[in-house]
Symmetry: none
Subunit: 210 residues, 4 copies
């Protein structure tokens, strides 16, 4: 019923994410996106003010999905290493489940200065910046906690935080579903990466810190 229009918008978002991912953000044209929908450019522009706005909406969707997933995994009452592992694991499975969106987000997160953007587009970009920062804060908190309790090494928090997040996003660069059971495969990868990240942080009992 009233879902029709919501669907229309979301359909476009999906098609856009896939096109951006496959062809690259700049290389994918609005026509490409429309063609994938079996629709016209006009339809896209009826729902999104510009290509930039469409891209930003794809990215916001990506981040919101991750945030919602992470929320469910977080438990600061657990020991930091447990909590961290759970968060990292959930991060990876969420990432793999809506990969196109995250490939797009990552592709763009890199680039800083845009050409002339409208105020509206600048606002969307600011929104993205804020959401990304907030997302990182949960990880920053658990890492700080782990260092405090001595279970994590005394790392430079800033460098480490950003780098660990890049590590957990790594599948964006190489994941391609193979034939096997997707759920199992995703779980295997999530475990491997979460373990990798956790070990990177853990203090080694023999060596005093360092």
């Amino acid at each position: 019923m009233a879902r029709k229009s919501a669907n229309s918008r979301d359909e476009i978002l999906d098609a856009a994410a896939e096109c951006f991912m496959e062809m690259g953000i700049e290389a994918a044209s609005i026509s490409d996106i429309a063609r994938r929908l079996g629709a016209t450019k006009g339809r896209v522009y009826h729902h999104f003010a510009s290509k930039g706005a469409l891209l930003s909406d794809v990215r916001i969707h990506a981040i919101d999905t991750m945030s919602a997933a992470l929320e469910e995994a977080i438990d600061f009452d657990l020991p930091p290493e447990q909590n961290f592992y759970n968060m990292a694991h959930r991060h990876v499975t969420a990432l793999l489940k809506t990969l196109p969106y995250h490939k797009v987000d990552l592709q763009k997160s890199n680039l800083s200065g845009e050409k002339s953007t409208t105020p509206y587009e600048r606002e969307l970009l600011e929104q993205i910046r804020v959401k990304r920062t907030e997302y990182g804060e949960a990880f920053r908190k658990v890492i700080a906690q782990g260092i405090e309790t001595g279970v994590f090494r005394k790392v430079q928090v800033s460098v480490t935080l950003h780098s660990v997040l890049v590590l957990l996003n790594a599948p964006v660069f190489w994941y391609q579903s193979r034939g096997e059971d997707p759920a199992a495969e995703q779980n295997r990868i999530a475990d491997e990466l979460a373990t990798l990240a956790l070990n990177a942080l853990l203090a080694r009992p023999d060596s005093a810190t360092s």
Copy 2:
């Protein structure tokens, strides 16, 4: 000497790397690159057959630089954990020293399907693929060695190899030179990341690995 033209070519390469990095590969036009050189498009086309070729040459330069640096650090007679640390450390310092080139390379390494390219350009792309794989092989070898000798955990080599390389490339996503002594800063970051990567791989004495 025939240095004049070599310089001219390298200047273009530098300008291209910076433009591609700052504006994004597609968004940067040949005009932008020429303008940065204080020259005209004609000069660029004298040295490079097409934008695609120029881009590939930037990427090849990026990889060659890294390979040359890594070569100097590798020593398979060292214990794997020592060798790995040295390689990782060198990877990061080399990366930071010519960051624009690597930002460009990373930006593109993601994307798979290209439009119609000329045979010449396809050959350059194949060259890049080969060089990248070769580069990774050195790391694959030291990781395999470490697992064999029991000093590294029994990880899924493929997932881990790619992910560790992404981790070591992480500065591409967040590095911005701060005021401090660049050499010192780059060394500090390289140490942090190499340690992070090494710890991620090391077997833990207490736990019977994982």
Copy 3:
């Protein structure tokens, strides 16, 4: 010789002025202008940064032509009424000689607020504003002089200045060359309008002005 490229630019300017005049500024597309030249849109954009810049250049050309003509007619050593008549007459003949440009200028001089313009385009608009004001100043001066010497009525200078200029531009709204000798026709019209404008200003001997 080196005139070729100057010609190319001026040819475009001419074609643009004619198209803008005949079809209206917004209705005339760059394609229309290119078609009239037997050229491509690309050629137009090679010489002018945007449609707005092209339009502004047409207008600047219009004003510069008028200014150069007026310059020759001005002589502040003459009695104000003589000087005014000469200026007005010259204004009209200059106007009629390059009518397309002035129709375009008038068409736009009306509109105030533009959408988002680039800094470069804003600069051109400012240039136009300044040139137009300067042009008017010559007339303001002779009117003020005439009032001082008592040969002109004591009018509200601002209202009168602007209105008299509109009157002298009136042919823009109705002139269509008829069969007769153009030079003679233009002279006849210029005399009629200059006389009209002069009489509008002159003090009437019998009536104590008002």
Copy 4:
């Protein structure tokens, strides 16, 4: 009353006149007009068949307003110079009272050739042409009368008529309400312009015609 719909139609007309004036006729979109009304495009299309029809209706409204006002001022029993002054004065006050409409009318009156228009739109345009001509006839008549009685100079009627009307429309090009009492301000301007126009026509007692 059936006033509701009349109001709705007039509201649209007002909004259209303002948009056309501020942004230019072509630049103002139906969306802009609807937005100004706080309504949707659909509402506009309910009352007006097309953008061209809406524009023509604005122009017809403009002319009808002027005609109605002029009607009240005309009195051919008065001496021509008196009658002319009254008509001119009334023209200006009527103009100032509904300026947006007249700015739109003037903006378009210039342009001759239209693209392909529907028969209905062509009919509206013809209506406008007729009404404008009729409006001018009243002035043509009083001028002819004045020349006959010798109170006006022996001008070329056609050139003079059109030019005097342009002069009386001049505020369209420069009027901007200042702080002062609007009625007084408008009266002051109307007097200045009517006097200007009248003097332009009057025979000078000393000089035998010329």
